[in-house]
Each structure stands twice: as C-alpha cells, then as structure tokens.
C-alpha cells in the first residue's frame, strides 16, 4: 500500500514539473496576454512582480505548492485574484459525473455487444458488432457531438443542445464521450471472451452439460472480466482527456472548460492546479483498479 502511495506521489510531482516546464516553453509572454498590447513597460514590470513572474520557475513552483497546500492559491490575474480551489471544487463534480456517465454508457453498450460477438464468432452478428465498434473508435468527438445535437436536439427535439441545467443536458455529452470507449471495450470484451471460451474449464463446463448461457456468462465472462477491469482503469485517463473536448462542445462547466479558459488567459495557477487534479483523478482510479482486482479475482485477494 505504501509503495502505491509513493508511486502515486511521484506521478503527481512529475506531472506538476512537466506542466510548469511546458508553460514556460509556450511562446508568448503571459504578461502580454494579461495586459494586452497597449500596456506600458512600467505596467508590465509591476504586473510581473505582482504575479511573481519575475521569480525563477522553481521559485514560482514552490510558491504554487505552498499556496495550494494552505488553500490560499489564487488566480494569477489581477485585479481580482480569486481563490482557485472553490472554482475547482465546483468544476470537479461536473467532470466526474460526465466521465462516470460516459463509462456507464460505454459498459452498457460494449459488454453485451462484445459477448454476443464472441459467442457467435464468424457470424454476421459478429461482423456487424465489430463494424459498429470500428466506426465508434473512428468518430472524432468534435464531430459526433454536433451530429448527435442535430439529430436529438434539433430534428427530434428531445434533448437540449448544451449547458448543464438538468439531467437531459447530460445525455448527449455522455454518449459522445462514451462511444469511443464503448467501441474499444467491445473489441476487448470480444477478444478476452474468445480467449476464455477456449480454456479447459469452459470445455469441462460444457461437458458437464451446463446450458450455453451459464457457460457463457458464469464461466467465461467472469474470467474475462479481469483484463477488462485493467483496461477500464487505464482508459479512464483517456476519458478525462476526451472530456475536455466534449465539455467544450456541450458548454459543460467542468474541469476541461476551466482548463481551456485558464490557458487562454495564461492563468498559470489555475492551469497547474487543474492539471494536478486531472493527474490525481487518474492516479486515484488506477489505484482503485488495483483494488478492484481483488474483488474480481479471488486469487489476487488471497495473495495480498
């Protein structure tokens, strides 16, 4: 457990260092972005000092870490240096809700599709299921989002276009974000199911005269779950990344939106804090995935 914690910590510090470094490599003076072109030299120097941009990068990083730890972290932009944490706290639930809903959508779509394709391997059902999943992987979110909006919000008038005022607003973004994962998961499910179906215990179960459904779901599927859980954990990161695009398309007030605004304004502190939170979510989910193994696979439980 402690080893896990240490590696999680290293991952987060590494992400913070990388982000800070990249922020400094991005061309364009943040002071120019903040003040606009017309500002004078005097104003620039004053702002640079007020925001701490005159300090070397490691000193800026230290100030950031200290302020974050004490909860005193504020946006880099004068004159209203608002606290960053409340904004993050407000955005986080929206992003989590979106990613979890997308994950639910993808599981609901992918598992039956993958299992069905594996059970009827080589049939038109298999081909159709895999065809759908290839399409799902290939569709970019910035395209799929508007198409779903046109279909369900404009033509059918069932759902709103964008925003986050009610549950209806969640449906289209969750589908947009979940499709790619669903497609990928369906392929994974099919592959691991095929492998499991070839195992001896499946032959034994069949020989015992168990019904095909029991063999499929109870024997093969339970064993195919383990690699799926791994993939799901890893893919959560991709989902978080995809959430940025999806949030932009649907004007969803999550961390992606917060991050985009902060980058536009060159608000270093918010960018750093948001990326750190993304990393934290990612690390947390990976740790949870490890723990989920024990639940899914009794062998892992016994070992630890």
């Amino acid at each position: 457990m402690s080893r896990r914690l240490v590696s999680a910590l290293i991952a987060m510090v590494g992400a913070l260092l990388l982000v800070s470094l990249f922020l400094h490599l991005v061309p364009g003076d943040p002071v120019d972005v903040m003040l606009g072109e017309q500002a004078t030299q005097v104003d620039r120097a004053a702002l640079r000092q007020a925001v701490g941009l005159d300090l070397p990068w490691y000193a800026q990083l230290w100030t950031f870490a200290r302020d974050l730890a004490t909860g005193e972290l504020r946006t880099s932009l004068p004159p209203f240096q608002r606290k960053v944490l409340p904004a993050l706290g407000a955005a986080l639930p929206y992003t989590l809700l979106l990613t979890l809903a997308a994950m639910a959508v993808s599981l609901v779509l992918a598992l039956p599709l993958g299992v069905m394709a594996a059970a009827r391997r080589g049939t038109p059902v298999d081909a159709a299921a895999m065809g759908v999943s290839v399409a799902g992987v290939a569709l970019p979110r910035f395209w799929l989002g508007p198409v779903l909006i046109i279909l369900f919000a404009l033509k059918l008038d069932w759902l709103p276009v964008s925003g986050a005022e009610s549950w209806r607003h969640l449906v289209l973004p969750a589908f947009t974000l979940g499709t790619a994962l669903a497609a990928f998961l369906a392929r994974m499910t099919r592959a691991t199911m095929l492998e499991a179906l070839r195992e001896d215990y499946v032959t034994v179960a069949r020989a015992k005269g168990l019904s095909p459904r029991v063999v499929l779901w109870k024997h093969a599927f339970r064993n195919a779950l383990l690699p799926l859980v791994t993939v799901l954990g890893l893919e959560f990161g991709a989902l978080l990344g995809g959430a940025i695009v999806t949030e932009k398309v649907f004007a969803w007030p999550g961390m992606g939106t917060l991050l985009l605004t902060a980058i536009e304004k060159r608000d270093y502190n918010t960018v750093r804090a948001t990326v750190l939170l993304f990393t934290f979510c990612y690390v947390l989910v990976n740790t949870l995935t490890d723990m989920a193994y024990a639940w899914v696979d009794p062998r892992v439980r016994r070992r630890s």
Partner: protein, 525 residues
C-alpha cells in the same frame, strides 16, 4: 470550500432525476433575452477589462461620458454635451438627473473621482498610462467638469469613454466590490454572475434613455462555434454578435425565427511587409505585390461578401477616411514595376519566379486559407511565396521582432485615427526601447508622414480631418502594408428580439434600444 458540497448534492439529485424522470421534452426557454458569448469576460470593471467581451459587457453596466457612433465620432453618452474650452481644456456637461444603480446621484464629483483614481498608480489599472496627458480634472459645478491637459492632445477624447463609477468605489478599496457586484449608471443593472459561464443583468429604470424594453439579459458562454449555431437554430439563444463565421450564415439565414443583420465594420485585415531590407524595401516591389492581389474573390468566397475591400486602415464610413487612388488589380503594371525594380522574369511567364518570399501566418484555418489564395495570386505574377503557418504565440513574437517578410494580421477595431501614428510613425518601430511593443512592425520611416501624424494629435477636429487625409495619401504612396478588407459587423438575432441594430464596432450597447417580443403562438420553432 462551501460551494463544493452544495454542487455535489445538486449533481447527485440530477443523476437521480435521470432515473426517475421519464419526460422527454426540453424545458421552455427562460424569460428574457439570452446572448451567447465565445469566452467569459475577464472583468466587468471597465478599468481592468482588456478583452473585447469584458469591455462590451462593462459598458452595459457602467458607460462613460461619451461613446462612438458608427463613423467612430465621439458622441455624448452620460454627457449631454462637450466642447473644447481651449486647446488644452475640454469641458463636459452631464445630463440632468443621472443616477447610479444604487440610487445615488451621478455628479461631476464622481467623474473627477473616477479619473483621479484611474490615474493613480495605487489603483493599478493597466490603462493608467493612457491618461498621462491629463494634468488635472476640475469640478466646475455639479453637472460640469473640465479636463485640463498638459499639452494639446486630441486623441484623449477616445479615452474619456471610460466607465464612470460612484466616487466611494473608485479607489483600490472598491476594487473588490466593483468586481463582485459592479455598479454604474448604465442601461442594465448587474444581477448575478454565479459562475464563469453565466451572467445576468436586468434593465435599469433610471437609464437616461428610458428603461430598456427587455425583461432580463442572460449571457451564456458557449466556446464551440458549432454549438453556438445549434443553440441559435434550436431557438434557445436570441443574440450572437460577431461570433459566428461567414461560412455558417447561409444556414442561419434559412431559419425562419432568425435574422442575420450586418453593418460595415471596423476590423481591418492587411498584408504586412518588412521594409527593413531586401526587395520589399523598394516601394516599386511593394506596389507590384499590391497590383497582383485581387481582394474581390477573397471577399466574395472566403468571407461570403461580409467585408469591404480596404484602401486604407480607416474604413470608408470613418469620419477621417479619405479616398485614395489605391493600387487595384493590374498584373501588367506589376510586371512593369518589377522589371523596373530589377527583378525581370528569368524565363517568361511561368517557370522560374522573379523573386520569392516567406509568408508567415497563424495556424488559424481561415488565415491559412487566405495565405494560400494570396500565394496563388502572387505566383501568377512571378512572385513565389512559401507559406509558413505557426502557432499564434510564435507567429506573433516573430512579427513583433521583425522576423518576417510577409504576414497577415488584423486590427480588431479601428476607431481613433491616432492609431495611424501607432502603426506607421517611425518612433513606433518595435525595438528594445519600447519592449518590442511598437506597432510599426514593417519599420516604415517617412519623416513627412511623421510630421503629419504628430500635428494631427494637437489639431482641432476639422484640421485633423485634413491632416489624416494627407497622411492616408502618403501611406497610399508608401504602401507599408497592403490593405485587404474591413470585416462586416454581423449579428444573428432571434424573432424574440426586435429593433436590434448592430454597431459597426460590435458593441452590445444597442441592446439598450432593442425590444423583447413574444412571438405569436404557433410560430415558435
């Protein structure tokens, strides 16, 4: 972090509702007018707002003594009138009975306090330097205020459109209050700003022009252009100003509940040339390039007609605009000029080029498309161009440091003609002394032009018109940049908002004169 648990609870309730609620109809649109924005305002305090969004929203809440009409002439706003008492004294008379949103009266004392604070380094406004020519502000009586200048300085009027705030809020101690709940004397009263994505205002009954006929203004940030268009089509948004590209307007025009209204605008797109060295230092080469470029197909196809080919930095409607001969599309003349400048065609039309340039542009899809068309046009005249698309930060840094031969850029809004001095006076060539911030990026050096532009800062309005006309003729001959076009100001308006007349500058102030209407039953989309 008190908001967190509340949000979390709400989100859980939403998730629960997902399971329980089985209705499918979208909820009815909210009362009032919804305006979509591309990005949230950086600030609603005009003294700190630097983005166009921030300034335009701030003007609704807290306008200034004057504003600008479509010809960019200063016109009274909170002021009833203004006049030059002498070359260094400007006098403003306030409208009678002005009040702030909090009910207190707006007097000359508030005006003086506002500008005194703005000029005080303690406030830390990034706009402070603009008021350097002001010596002092004098209260003559409750409705009369005078600005005493250190020297004659005509462009100052442009800066006197700054927001007038209640005197108790003008200092550094008022920043917090003005940022959280801004107060002014504008047509709309600030109501709420719950998060970055939403902002609401309500009409102010005390507005000197009469209470605006809109029940409420809701501003929503929708970053994605496609989504903004879809919200308009769905009928859930009533106004978008200048935030949709010309390519999608035909689709919007077809919707029966939407109107697309346009007006000649002031955004100026140009082809920048580096005069420091090489062939472009020769005016004949610059003129030849200008003769090879035909702006009309670009305006027609890339901008769908929503632009005017430009002959000057100032748009045709500008009070200081003057018509100049211009170069016009004339390939034979270009060939003659290039021959004369010592760049003969090595092997006849086609084949090897006469001379070649690199053309820097940002990675923006539209800018790149424009660069490719220009490349094609120049190639026909034997001028080879290599287009290099760079990330905006890198591109802009290269332009500022003079590391370019050709580039395209846009001036967002050309209002005060003194901008010509910024862009073409030899004192404004970027260099270490101005932190590479000078706008004369092509490094034009024309002493006669310098004199004209300097004189225009100290002249009366009529004299300025003459001086700027002369300056535009001089620029037409020098050709430090090749003017391309002025983009039109475009507003997409729903049938629920009547009488919205867009401003040439893309301002939101016309909302004060617009009317909210309830469309007849049955005609809702």
């Amino acid at each position: 972090m008190p908001p967190l648990p509340f949000r979390a609870v709400r989100v859980f309730v939403l998730a629960l509702a997902l399971v329980l609620d089985s209705g499918c109809r979208a909820p009815a649109p909210p009362a009032g007018i919804t305006v979509l924005l591309e990005a949230p305002p950086d600030s609603l305090d005009d003294r700190f707002a630097l983005t166009a969004h921030g300034q335009r929203l701030a003007q609704l809440i807290s306008p200034g003594l004057l504003t600008f009409d479509d010809a960019s002439r200063p016109v009274p706003q909170l002021a009833e009138s203004f006049r030059d008492v002498s070359a260094t004294v400007v006098e403003f008379v306030l409208r009678p009975g002005l009040t702030f949103h909090d009910g207190s009266a707006l007097t000359a004392e508030d005006v003086k306090a506002t500008f005194d604070a703005l000029m005080d380094p303690k406030l830390g406004s990034p706009k402070r330097e603009r008021y350097e020519p002001v010596d002092r502000v004098e209260v003559v009586d409750a409705r009369t205020v005078r600005f005493h200048l250190k020297r004659p300085y005509a462009p100052l009027l442009a800066e006197l459109s700054a927001a007038i705030l209640p005197s108790e809020r003008v200092g550094p101690g008022g920043i917090e209050a003005q940022g959280a709940h801004p107060v002014g004397a504008g047509p709309f009263r600030f109501e709420s700003w719950p998060d970055e994505e939403h902002l609401t205002m309500v009409p102010f009954e005390g507005w000197h022009g009469g209470k605006p006929a809109v029940s409420r203004l809701t501003f929503r940030v929708v970053r994605d252009e496609t989504t903004r268009v879809l919200e308009l089509l769905k009928g859930r948004a009533d106004l978008v100003v200048n935030n949709v590209s010309p390519a999608v307007l035909p689709a919007l025009r077809q919707a029966s509940h939407l109107r697309v209204v346009t007006k000649p605008g002031t955004g100026f797109t140009y082809l920048g040339l580096n005069l420091r060295e090489g062939p472009l230092a020769d005016v004949r080469v610059r003129q030849a390039l200008c003769h090879l470029i035909d702006v009309r197909p670009l305006v027609e196809h890339k901008l769908h007609g929503l632009a005017e080919p430009a002959s000057s930095m100032l748009p045709r409607e500008h009070w200081a605009f003057t018509a100049t001969p211009g170069c016009g599309y004339a390939p034979e003349e270009a060939a003659r000029l290039l021959d004369a400048a010592g760049y003969p065609d090595p092997d006849g039309p086609g084949g090897k080029p006469r001379l070649s340039f690199t053309f820097k542009t940002s990675t923006d899809r539209f800018r790149r498309a424009v660069a490719l068309v220009l490349k094609e046009q120049l190639a026909k005249g034997g001028v080879a161009v290599e287009v290099r698309a760079l990330e905006f930060g890198t591109f802009f840094e290269d332009v500022r440091r003079g590391r370019f031969e050709l580039f395209t850029l846009k001036w967002a809004a050309v209002m005060e003609p003194d901008l010509l001095r910024g862009a073409f006076h030899s004192a404004n060539i970027p260099g270490p002394e101005n932190h590479w911030g000078g706008f004369n990026r092509g490094a034009l050096k024309d002493p006669a032009l310098d004199r004209l532009l300097d004189a225009a800062t100290q002249a009366s309005r009529e004299e300025r018109r003459v001086l700027y006309a002369e300056a535009q003729r001089e620029l037409d001959a020098d050709l430090p940049v090749i003017p391309l076009w002025h983009e039109a100001s475009v507003a997409v308006v729903s049938s629920r908002l009547a009488d919205f007349e867009p401003s040439a500058h893309g301002l939101l102030l016309p909302l004060a004169k617009a009317r909210e209407v309830t469309p007849e039953q049955g005609s809702t989309p």
